[in-house]
């Protein structure tokens, strides 16, 4: 080995504390990079394989009623490959606990077996169903501990049907098992899917030889929009409710979002960590180069070129990068298997493909090398300026100027001597000071993120269900009904308030932009819905206007005052142009709101409603469970509880991120202090000779760190605030809008966490100061 490289290795060994602490940051960055990327690809692959294996639909159509013969005719539409009609409806399920409300979606399966959306049988052979049995979806069966041969009792049209579970299977269509967009979270024991024979479904639902859903696969994905247009025309007379592409289907779009989030994190976090590592490397190397001034002079005197010497020090940074890469990548690969498994298990995807993608390893190494070489060159660039002859002479004294604060006489005079020194020390090495403070500010900001998430998640629900939508229950009818039904409802339940609601899926269009959403009609003087514009002012619905949620305004690229087209699927009703009279806040779900009367007149039918919103202390679920024409009763309290449970699992992730912030904070402070000590060993030695003891010096350094930490926290606050906005932005999706919450609590806790990490690093450097040999330091002309 070249002797210069021997020197490099010994140099690393000598500064192993610093070397390791930066290497850990790089390793964490790469571990996350590899882990998240590989995991997201694995999930993607698993989902694709699952979709292929079960021949998932490309298009899903919901309509009022279509005869079987008409379904067959759809095959003649160009682009259509296969079609399959089915009957699908949600019904309550009778369970032992009278309090508990469980619903189940009954889906018919053709006698000849499914062509599209085939069930996936993880164990056992496919089972045929007749009029006495059904196949249950796996997640639900497991969550409720239902075994083969058990009997379950759905209420269908007011009648109990006892059916035997003859099979348990999975479906690619319901990887993420959620009742509808409003639920947001899968609650596996409250909602399930049951596959029954077509004959049984049609007879109990009163749909002889007819269907209310059509599944379609395409020959060519590219022409999907053309095909959808043709399907729309062909199906108009059957009362099309909604035509959904696979990508917009609930389960698939939630999966996509999860994967996207993972992908986003896989680039944001590593780059942030590498940036911090780069900052530390720059400071560390510029210090090493300054310390090695004379050695560099000797090397040059011996005939080493600038390039040789620069490369020598840059290799130090590169070694950090390589060591970090090796550990990070190994860690990432080792963890990617289990993490993919966790996700795949969580998502209930039966295809586990825990592959390792080597391209990410190369990318990771390339990325790190670039970062490290760049920061190495930047840190060691002073090597170029060292003239061998100059380096042999003692350095010219640093120009000692008065600092600004000293000119403010009355303040300066009040400071004790040691504080004066502390402040001068900080101000005289401005560049180092700025870099360190920025590094610590970043640590602080990283600590803000998980704390913000912890606040925002529950707040999202509290705001949505206590401020914006104040009803206790939402009742959905099985079909649109006349407003008179309110009178019947009032007889059935004790409600302090009740309000009619009309909810219909429509496609909203603005030029190229379109989005199918639930449009909700509520009375103008609604007591349950509170609409607030983005500036948090209350706004009221107007006669002919439309309110859209923030997420929808982005999706359609429209603002207040613009017009949108509502495509009407209701037979006999025309598309309308309507003015957006307001953009309103809504954290969960994506919707549009209209005045109830206007919506009835323009889009549906006079006096029609599809449900009611209720404020009541009554147990509506129990009271309405036997009532005909009630499709579902949703309780805001249940939704909130389910979410709170989910939050417990979130806490783990929050702690994980805090730990990341801690690792960074530690590495930054530890290095800063070590560098500070080596930079000033001569100064400390002089102080020791003058009679300062170890503790005095340690105190002085501690004070410097305290000052820097305070300034860093002050800078970290706006930085954290903008990171919160960025986080809210990147986490928001069609279904969730993360509120930007800037609560003082978040910043206080982040400060406590930062100070804690600083304190740990501070303690770790204590030994270094106590072991500082001041006699050696004074003689340190030998390098």
């Amino acid at each position: 080995m070249r002797k210069l490289d021997v020197r490099l290795l010994r140099m690393i060994k000598h500064s192993k504390g610093q070397f390791i602490s930066v290497t850990v940051i790089v390793a964490v960055a790469l571990c996350i990079y590899v882990l998240f990327n590989v995991t997201s690809i694995n999930i993607n692959d698993a989902v694709d394989a699952y979709y292929d294996a079960t021949n998932i639909n490309d298009i899903h159509i919901q309509l009022v009623k279509i005869p079987g013969t008409a379904v067959e005719e759809l095959k003649s539409i160009p682009g259509v490959k296969e079609v399959q009609g089915r009957v699908s409806f949600d019904v309550p399920l009778h369970v032992e606990d009278e309090e508990e409300r469980v619903s189940i979606r009954i889906i018919s399966t053709p006698a000849a077996g499914e062509q599209i959306n085939r069930l996936y049988w993880q164990s056992g052979r496919p089972v045929k169903v007749d009029n006495n049995n059904l196949i249950l979806i796996k997640q639900f069966a497991e969550a409720r501990n239902i075994k083969l041969g058990d009997e379950i009792t759905p209420y269908i049209n007011g009648r109990e049907h006892q059916l035997t579970v003859s099979g348990i299977a999975s479906s690619a269509e319901f990887v993420y098992l959620m009742e509808n967009e409003q639920t947001l979270l899968p609650v596996a024991d409250k909602f399930g899917i049951a596959y029954v024979s077509e004959e049984f479904a049609q007879s109990v639902y009163g749909y002889k030889s007819s269907y209310n859903e059509v599944l379609i696969t395409l020959k060519d994905q590219a022409n999907i929009d053309d095909t959808i247009e043709k399907l729309e025309k062909a199906l108009d007379k059957y009362g099309v409710k909604r035509i959904t592409k696979l990508e917009n289907q609930l389960s698939n779009s939630v999966l996509d979002q999860e994967i996207n989030q993972l992908e986003q994190m896989s680039s944001i976090i590593p780059v942030m960590f590498l940036m911090v590592a780069a900052v530390i490397i720059v400071i560390m190397l510029s210090r090493i180069v300054a310390n090695d001034r004379m050695a560099i002079g000797v090397l040059k005197a011996l005939g080493y070129t600038n390039f040789n010497v620069l490369a020598h020090y840059t290799k130090y940074a590169l070694m950090i990068g390589l060591a970090g890469s090796v550990f990070g990548i190994i860690g990432g690969i080792l963890l990617s298997g289990p993490m993919s498994q966790v996700y795949i298990f969580y998502f209930n995807i039966p295809f586990l493909k825990a592959n390792i993608y080597y391209s990410f390893i190369f990318k990771a190494i390339a990325l790190t090398s670039i970062f490290c070489i760049a920061s190495g060159l930047l840190g060691a660039r002073k090597v170029m300026n060292i003239m061998p002859a100059d380096s042999m002479r003692p350095e010219a004294p640093k120009s000692g100027k008065r600092i600004l604060l000293e000119r403010i006489g009355f303040l300066w005079q009040r400071l004790s001597f040691s504080w004066k020194m502390v402040i001068r020390n900080i101000m005289r090495t401005k560049r180092r000071f700025i870099l360190l403070v920025l590094g610590m500010a970043l640590t602080y900001a990283i600590n803000v993120i998980p704390l913000y998430m912890g606040e925002a998640m529950p707040a999202m629900f509290t705001l949505q269900y206590q401020e914006y939508q104040k009803m206790d229950f939402t009742v959905d009818f099985t079909r649109p009904m006349n407003e008179d039904v309110l009178i019947d409802m009032n007889h059935l339940i004790e409600a302090s308030k009740m309000e009619p609601r009309l909810e219909y899926p429509f496609e909203l269009k603005n030029g190229w932009y379109k989005k199918a959403v639930m449009v909700i009609g509520v009375p103008q003087n609604t007591i349950f819905y509170e609409f607030r514009d983005p500036r948090d002012n209350k706004v009221r619905l107007q006669d002919g206007g439309l309110f859209i949620t923030e997420a929808l305004s982005k999706a359609l690229n429209v603002e207040k005052g613009d017009f949108v087209t509502i495509k009407n699927f209701v037979p006999g009703k025309k598309d309308i142009q309507i003015k957006v009279t307001g953009v309103v806040k809504q954290y969960l779900g994506i919707n549009a709101y209209m005045d109830l009367n206007a919506m009835q007149d323009l889009l549906v039918d006079k006096e029609m409603i599809t449900g009611v919103s209720v404020a009541s202390t009554d147990d509506l679920k129990e009271k309405l469970k036997d009532v005909k024409n009630i499709a579902a009763v949703r309780s805001s309290a249940d939704l909130q509880n389910a979410f709170l449970e989910y939050l417990d699992t979130m806490a783990i992730a929050v702690n994980f991120y805090l730990l990341f912030g801690g690792v960074l904070g530690f590495a930054i402070i530890y290095n800063a202090t070590i560098i500070g000590i080596s930079e000033r060993s001569m100064e400390f030695a002089s102080l020791r000779v003058l009679g300062f003891d170890k503790r005095d010096i340690y105190k002085m350094i501690s004070k410097e760190n305290i000052v820097m930490t305070i300034i860093a926290i002050l800078i970290g606050m706006p930085l954290g605030t903008s990171m919160i906005s960025g986080m809210a932005e990147s986490f928001s999706s069609d279904m969730i809008t993360m509120p930007v919450i800037i609560a003082p609590k978040i910043f206080v806790y982040a400060a406590i966490a930062t100070i804690f990490f600083v304190a740990i690093a501070q303690l770790a450097t204590r030994r270094k100061i106590y072991n500082l040999n001041f006699i050696d330091a004074l003689k340190s002309r030998i390098s």
């Binding site: 070249r2 010994r10 000598h14 090397l299 040059k300 005939g303 070129t305 600038n306």
Partner: protein, 236 residues
């Protein structure tokens, strides 16, 4: 005796900017160095002798004047050529040895020879300076005299035209200093290297072929020693 000229130094001047003060270190200096010569440059501190040495060694450039080595003007060299000159032609010995603290004695020598074309055999050089036994020790495990011998070995092993020594005995006690001088003397005779020593110690001048006396950046006297005495007999 007919001597070949190794270096011609013509009208060298050097001005330093030290912080906010300009220091004239060297003024209009001219002389010649011959092959195989043992030269002592004598002067008090601040006389410009270190500056002169640095310029001769290609470590620094003069403000004015020129230096020719075997007819080639090194003061015209660019940085790369100057580095090559230091690498292949010059060996340095510093007052404070300036060894790499984290390399052993032998590694310190190898650090210098690795990049030279016609380096001497390391083991031979280590034997010549009497350090075969100590070659795997780190500088911190050696005495000052031993460290200086490593530094000399490092300079000699490159097989340079010229050995430049900056106060080689300055940090050593009398006895060790004499040993170092006789080692340099031996190298001058045995390896036939031109040796230039700068020192403020007038006694060392007695062993030189020529003594160049400097004061305040100027040469005040060049004295030839008809009968240089062996270093063992020097006293101070």
């Amino acid at each position: 005796m007919q001597q070949n000229i190794l270096m011609q130094i013509e009208n060298l001047s050097k001005t330093y900017q030290m912080g906010e003060v300009a220091v004239k270190a060297l003024e209009e200096t001219s002389f010649e160095l011959f092959e195989g010569e043992f030269v002592v440059i004598l002067g008090p501190s601040g006389s410009g002798k270190s500056t002169l040495l640095n310029i001769l060694g290609g470590m620094d450039l003069p403000t004015e004047g020129r230096v020719l080595v075997k007819g080639e003007e090194i003061t015209k060299y660019n940085d790369r050529k100057l580095t090559a000159y230091r690498r292949d032609r010059v060996g340095f010995v510093f007052q404070f040895y300036n060894l790499m603290a984290n390399l052993t004695a032998k590694e310190n020598v190898e650090l210098a020879t690795e990049m030279c074309k016609n380096a001497l055999k390391i083991d031979e050089v280590m034997a010549a300076v009497g350090l075969e036994e100590r070659k795997d020790h780190f500088p911190s495990q050696m005495s000052g005299g031993e460290q200086q011998r490593v530094a000399i070995a490092r300079a000699v092993a490159k097989n340079p035209l010229l050995l430049l020594c900056d106060e080689p005995t300055g940090a050593l006690d009398f006895k060790t200093g004499l040993l170092t001088l006789s080692l340099l003397h031996k190298i001058n005779r045995d390896f036939n290297k031109t040796v230039v020593i700068i020192t403020h110690n007038a006694a060392i001048g007695d062993m030189a072929d020529r003594v160049i006396k400097m004061r305040s950046g100027k040469i005040i006297e060049i004295k030839e020693n008809a009968n240089p005495i062996p270093p063992e007999r020097i006293e101070w």
